[in-house]
């Protein structure tokens, strides 16, 4: 009996409706939809480190902070009782009738700054111009503003003292008048630009607290990544605050 074997070729391969593909590892577009390989992802080198937050957690934190910073509840509208003086001019009427919140004004400000960069650069170049037109003073000629002027007093033999007793290195360089004027003339920053920056990178790590009772958050909820302090709080957390279904 002859042996018949079907040799695979490209034309005759039955298509089962699925295919094997090369596993390229972490795909952010899929993780958010169905984070099923959480344990594998955690084991994989180069995956998110312990303290990094998922997108979902970040949104939750941002929403919470916005809630904490809110001034007025948009749901409650309190009408102003009694009769009051009517607006006297068109301008006043317009301003009084604004129903905008602070975030609208701040967004406006940002949009305006982005739309019109020209006056800003002109302004800053003018500031540079005034700085440049000043004849360099000795303190500016030294490499940095922090470096004290070492040579001025030491060159003069009458005032030369023991370098250990010298207080020169303790004193900062004297204030430069032109520099001060430039500082005082600088225009105000925009609201967004005057934020405090993030803490210095070498500082202590972020502290984590229990989501429920506020004690140290030693245990991470496997479902949503929030921190809890122990079993009791974990149960309470799962019953109320767990983000798994949020």
């Amino acid at each position: 009996m002859p042996h018949v074997e079907v040799l695979p070729n490209s034309a005759s391969a039955a298509a089962p409706g699925w295919t094997y593909v090369v596993d390229t590892g972490y795909d952010p577009s899929k993780v958010a939809i169905n984070p099923k390989d959480r344990k594998r992802a955690a084991a994989r080198p180069g995956a998110r480190s312990d303290n990094e937050l998922s997108a979902r957690q970040q949104t939750a934190i941002a929403r919470r902070i916005a809630e904490l910073e809110r001034d007025n509840d948009p749901k409650q509208s309190i009408a102003i009782a009694g009769k009051h003086a009517t607006p006297k001019t068109q301008n006043a009427r317009r301003i009084i009738q604004y129903q905008r919140q602070i975030k609208h004004w701040l967004d406006d400000e940002e949009a305006q700054l982005q739309q019109a960069p020209a006056p800003r650069t002109a302004q800053s170049s003018r500031r540079v111009g005034t700085m440049a037109s000043i004849p360099p003073t000795p303190s500016e000629a030294t490499p940095g503003p922090i470096t004290p002027r070492p040579s001025a007093t030491q060159a003069d033999p009458s005032t030369q003292v023991d370098p250990l007793l010298s207080i020169d290195n303790l004193m900062p360089p004297p204030l430069d008048k032109a520099e001060l004027d430039a500082l005082l003339a600088a225009p105000p920053l925009s609201y967004a630009a005057s934020h405090v920056g993030p803490p210095a990178p070498g500082g202590p790590p972020q502290r984590h607290f229990c989501d429920n009772c506020g004690y140290w958050g030693k245990i991470k909820c496997l479902r949503c990544g929030a921190r809890v302090c122990g079993l009791e709080c974990k149960e309470a957390h799962e019953a109320t605050r767990c983000l798994k279904w949020a």
């Binding site: 934190i61 919470r64 902070i65 904490l68 910073e69 001034d71 007025n72 409650q76 509208s77 309190i78 009408a79 102003i80 009782a81 009694g82 003086a85 607006p87 006297k88 001019t89 301008n91 006043a92 301003i95 009084i96 009738q97 604004y98 919140q101 602070i102 004004w105 701040l106 400000e109 503003p145 303790l170 900062p172 360089p173 204030l175 001060l180 500082l183 005082l184 600088a186 225009p187 105000p188 920053l189 925009s190 609201y191 005057s194 934020h195 405090v196 920056g197 993030p198 803490p199 210095a200 202590p204 972020q206 502290r207 009772c213 506020g214 004690y215 140290w216 079993l231 009791e232 605050r241």
Partner: protein, 445 residues
Amino acid sequence: MPPKGSRKLSTIAPKHTLVLDNGAYTLKAGLVPAASTDLSYDSCTVIPNCIARSTRDKCTYVASELIHCKDFGELAFRRPVEKGFIVNWEAEKAIWEHEFVESTAGEGLMCDPKETNLLLTEKPNCPKELQKNCDEIVFEQFEFAAYHRSVGATFCAYTSADGSSLSSLPQECLLIIDTSYSDATILPIYSGQLIQSAVRRLNIGGKLLTNYLKELSSLRHYNMMEETYLLNEIKEAVSFVTSSKEQFSRDLERTWKGRLGDKRDLDTSIVVDYVLPDYEGSIHGYARPHDPVKSRMRRGLQPQQGPREDLLPVGNERFAVPELLFNPSDIGIQEAGLPEAIVQALGTLPEALKLAFLSNIVVVGGNSLIPGFMERLESELRMLVPDNYLLGIARADDPIKHTWLGAARFASQPDLLKHVLVSKAEYDENGSTWLAKKFAATAGR
């Protein structure tokens, strides 16, 4: 419009000035006669800057009427000032009219705007559109005779930290830390002039602390999300700042309930029971040391004895809430704490100025009244600045009214005031864009 020649005649400034520190939580106001010498914190009236409405008694309270309120339960607030800037002029106009113009005005505050100067303070980094709105309302709606608007902290240079000195010369270098209702700002002031490029703002204010305490109490005990007034009262009554990070850990340990099967006794020197007001017999609550028996009764584990009272146990919330001022990252706000923010702000300045500012720091704003705040700020700041730098830090005697007093001192000196005031006639002639430019240019005189 008056003919050109008559302008000089019409700009004779009125004799008294309304000094108004328009805060987000309270207005600080007072009428200051020219050349008065007996100004003190007592000349200032503090008025809530809000319109409150209670769903229970269906009453609306405008600003100072709030003291007549007997039931703060579920009281809703409408605040015209958001993030420190006057945003809603409909409400702010109603409040100003109620407090200064109409017959409801408080004693010593009623004035006719047409015969009064206005000295108004604002927060730094205000969007220009909002400043313009403010100028237009002041002149077109209220028609004040003359007006000046400036960042409030710059006036602090005209008064010393204990509010005693009286001089027409501003302090040379002064660093104001304003930890207020909306945020905490760091303002270096050189000879009464703000160094704008070094102003920094930390988005943690009293409002955020109150809301945070509200959230925590609602999560851990009862739903208090509508009880803003009450939680603010509790925050003011019981919160404190721990002396250091290490002390924070120790206190956290002492207020922990323990594990399942390893229950610990709460340290009653920290944990307190806040007796909630019922708004029938009592309007205000009070705190007393934690009593575990009462707490078991509350949860129905023990039969009820004695008169019924509602208790809110306050444990680590007492110090974890104000801790946000020093560690905003505790709730995920990616900003440095207040001491580091001060160093950041000064980092842009020349070394000599930095040295001078660090030796003269004055803290204003209500959050500085939290016990332990000043000690913690000083010790953490000491760790961050080089040890050969002198660190002089003090809280203003009355941190809430201090800015007002500075502004009032300024307003009481006619020769200082006449340089900065802009009269209505000038405004009518030149318009609001000109006025905004003028205030920006005279920001520090």
